[in-house]
Structures are given as structure tokens and as C-alpha cells.
Symmetry: C2
Subunit: 305 residues, 2 copies
Amino acid sequence: MSRWPERVTVYEVGPRDGLQNVPDTISTETKVRFVEALRGAGLPAVEVTSFVSPKWVPQLADGAEVFSSLKDTEGARLPVLVPNLKGLEAALTVGAREVAVFTAASEAFNQKNINASIAESIARFEPVAKKAQDEGLTLRGYVSTAFGCPYQGDVPEDDVVDTCDRLFQLGCAEVSVGDTIGVGDPGQVQSLCLALGVRFELERIALHLHDTPGRALANVVTALRCGVTTFDSSAGGLGGCPYAPGAAGNLATEDLVEMLHRLGVGTGVDLEALADASVALAEETGLPQPSRVLQAIRARRARES
Amino acid sequence: MSRWPERVTVYEVGPRDGLQNVPDTISTETKVRFVEALRGAGLPAVEVTSFVSPKWVPQLADGAEVFSSLKDTEGARLPVLVPNLKGLEAALTVGAREVAVFTAASEAFNQKNINASIAESIARFEPVAKKAQDEGLTLRGYVSTAFGCPYQGDVPEDDVVDTCDRLFQLGCAEVSVGDTIGVGDPGQVQSLCLALGVRFELERIALHLHDTPGRALANVVTALRCGVTTFDSSAGGLGGCPYAPGAAGNLATEDLVEMLHRLGVGTGVDLEALADASVALAEETGLPQPSRVLQAIRARRARES
């Protein structure tokens, strides 16, 4: 069997993807502390916030203030999500150097959410991508519903590959392929990674997995074998909890990092410092953190103290 | 990459391993209903109870009554755990046809728990194994702490292989290799499965995984690739919760079965009927059930009703 890679890039989405789905009561100071603590824990990329309309995501309405409060942003990977030119302008104003755009691989999902086909949604990003490149920004693309869609069910693998292709053609340096509803299994992951590997360098593909049915790490292991070396995750497992409180949404960064370290895969992340970041956020906000490794670390610390 | 196997045997341990660690208040009738519901859901092997001293495990003190209340036991795989000859006699009295014995791969664990070396603990099972064979029973062996020990830390792979070997020499038809404290990772699983595969037929090896750090299914996927086709699991994820309430101990049968079915691997288990068995138990006992798939099924049913 193949060896594990020497190094994996953990792309932290907690401050954006985690905090966009929670009650609208988290202070700007708490968000800034959270991002800085994650950076301090060695995470090589931390998605800070989203410059979408506060009408749609009031939780991140203070995105500009959060970003502007960060220290030593020069040269750091601190991407922000932008849905349109207005969002991009806001990102440029605060000095962001990496922006992410998003679409879905499911036609039904795009129609339902933004009343556009995949092609139309990509077309809307063209001016965004053009301006981002003119300004020398790094562009990341998100492809959601790549493993299944709440409206159309199965999503053809070709649609996922084509959507990635369009995003690369727009100038994306990296495309993150997302299991939005957490249905992907290792068989699908293997098949999709092989299909993506035929068309693209897998170094430019990230996987964005949800742990809903508890198999996010099974999917990671499978993707590692296929050659994927970038994974999105959320500190504490924050965000995207479609079911009961405490149920899992996003793959937890702690769970991902601990497994990678046990496999001998380097991440640059200090797991204890990462846990500190999550614990501090929980103490300030009371948000549920389904990460199993974080629960184990907290229990160990309670025993030791 | 290799294909997935066509079929996997799911060995259900919930009624024994799950219910041995809970408050001592579950009625015999509830236990019987639980076992029968699991059998009805198509589980090919259900470990019913343990004939250990009620001083040690008062939760299963009614094991004989539970077993005697089961219907149509002829030809069914309904193993019971026995620690010694007295337990075996009790198992024979109620008509059990499969019994399981247990030891640990860690010398420190054996010393601490039963004040015996591995060799001594195996020696104690010799008369049990002899009598079980004389009576025509099927014998299963458990090797705990195979991936790590709370007392000695690392457990040498050779000790695991040797302990399995001794249990096979005792006459065990199958040996279940357990990640008692839930520390195993896919690298360890791969290495250990390859080592076991050199010495034994992997058809005779089961893996007993805990989901503590959320990677039980990552370990299952890795073991499937290595050729293991029997996995122990516990309905609802019942039992072995060393941390916070709701934290995971045993790999949940629902999580295992759903992943296997998505991979096209047959189990004979009806997932909805399995969920019914877990839901009924939860309604009667209020026990926590960390299974993520079960939570998703419950949420879906709540939406639909």
C-alpha cells in the first residue's frame, strides 16, 4: 500500500464557515481572538470571514472590522469569501490578499439558491476573478454539493469535474471540493479523486468534508491514498450542524490534525494550542464543539488539573 | 486500488459491551426486546450478555434470564462472554452455543486487571476452552489493548500477534482484536493487519474499534483494504464512553452499516430496523447514543412526521 504524504495543508474554515451559522451574538473581539489563536497554533491558512451582504449573513457583518484588527497579515494566508464585485472591493479595502468564490456542482442547488445555472453562476464570477487577478490576489474556488445534493440527490462526477475546470479557467489557484450535506463515502471519494487527478494536479484540489455520518476521516484517509494533500476543516468541528445540537457538521480540525500526526504526516499545527483556541471560543460563546479529539483533550485536562 | 469486499460480518456487541457500563437499572424485558430487535434487523451475530460475577458486572446479573427468554436460538449466532469455568457452566445451562473469552495484549493491563501475565491469563482459559470444545461450542477470543494500553502506552505488534496465536491454539474459531482505548490510527491498523495476515487467515480476525477520536471508520476502511471482513460494533454507539456524555466509545453499528452499504458491501442488516432497535432502547432507558447516523435518521424521521 502507498505511504502517507510527508505533509498536508490544513485550511481552517472555522471563523468563516463555522461562525456563519450560529446565533448573531459573537463579538468582533472574540472573533479576532479566535483567528489570532488559530494562526498562533500554526494553521497555515485561516479563512477569516465572508464579505457577503449582512442581510444574508448578519453573523459576519463585522467582517471588515475583524480583518482590519488582525496583526502581521503581510504574507499570511488569510482568505476571505466574496460573492461578487462588491464583496471583492470590501476585501481589497481591508487589504485581503486571497479571496474565495463559490458555486455548486448541482444544477438544482444553484437554481434553488441563486436562481442561476452553474454556467451562469460562473459567469457572474468572471469580473470578480478578472479584478482579483488584476490586483494580484490569490483566488480559491469552492464547489459545493460535490458528493450529493439535497434537491437533486446524486450529482454526476462529470459535473463536479467540469465545475472545477471552469473555476480553474477563471484563474483559481486551488479548488475546494465540498461534501456539503455530508453524504460522501470512501468509494465516492476514491472515484472522484481519480477523476479529478486525471484532469488536474491534485496539489491544486482541496477536500471540504463534513462529518455528519462520522466518516469524514475515512474519506480523508482514502483521499490521502489518492494523492490529495489539502483538507478544509473547522476548529472544534464548529458549524454546519444540520441535526441535533452536538451533531457533527464540518470535519473538526483537531480530529484531522491528530490523525495526521499519528500517521506521521506533518501539518505545522500545535494540537494543544489549537485546542486552546477552541476552548477559549467555547468559553466566550458557549458554542457546541462536536470534535471528538477536542472532547478527549478537555477530559484529559480536567483529569490532570 | 483494491475493490471493497462483497460482504462483511457485523458482530453486534451492544447488549453485552454496551450495557455492561451503564447504570444498573435496565430491566430484563428491555434487554430481551433489544436483542430480539437487533436479530430482527438482520444482524448475523449478537453477543447477548456476559456470565461474569454479578459482583463485577451487576448490570448483566440477569444474563441467564435474558438468554433463556430469547426465541428460536437454534442455529443463531448468540455468543456470550465467559471469564471462567463457572461462567461456561452457566452458558451451557441456558443453551448457549458460542462463548467468548478475553485477554489483553498488554502485560501491564493484564497485571493491573487480573493480576496475571498474558501467559497466565491464557492458561486459565485452557480448561474453559477444553470444555467448550468437548461440548461442541464455538469459541471466540478477545484481545484487548491491541493498539495501546492506558498503563504501558505502546503495545508491541508482536505481543498482539502472539496473543492471537495463543487464542487460536486454544481453539478459538475467531479472534477479535480490540482498540480498547480508542487510539488506533489507519497506519497502525494497516501495519497490524498485514502482520496478522502473515500469520493467520484474516477471515478469522475481527476488529473491535472504538470511535473515541472519531476515526473508527477510517480504521475500518483501512482494514477492509487489508482483507479484514469482520467488525464488532455496538448499536447506537452504546458503551465505552470514557469522556463526556455523548462522547463516542464503541464504533456504532449504524455508522458502520451505512458506510458499508454505501460502498456496496453487503451486511444483511436492515438499517431502518436497526435504528428502530436503538430508538426503542433509548426510549426505554434514556441511554446516550453517540451514533452519528442514528442521529441523522432520528432527525430525518422527526422532519418527516
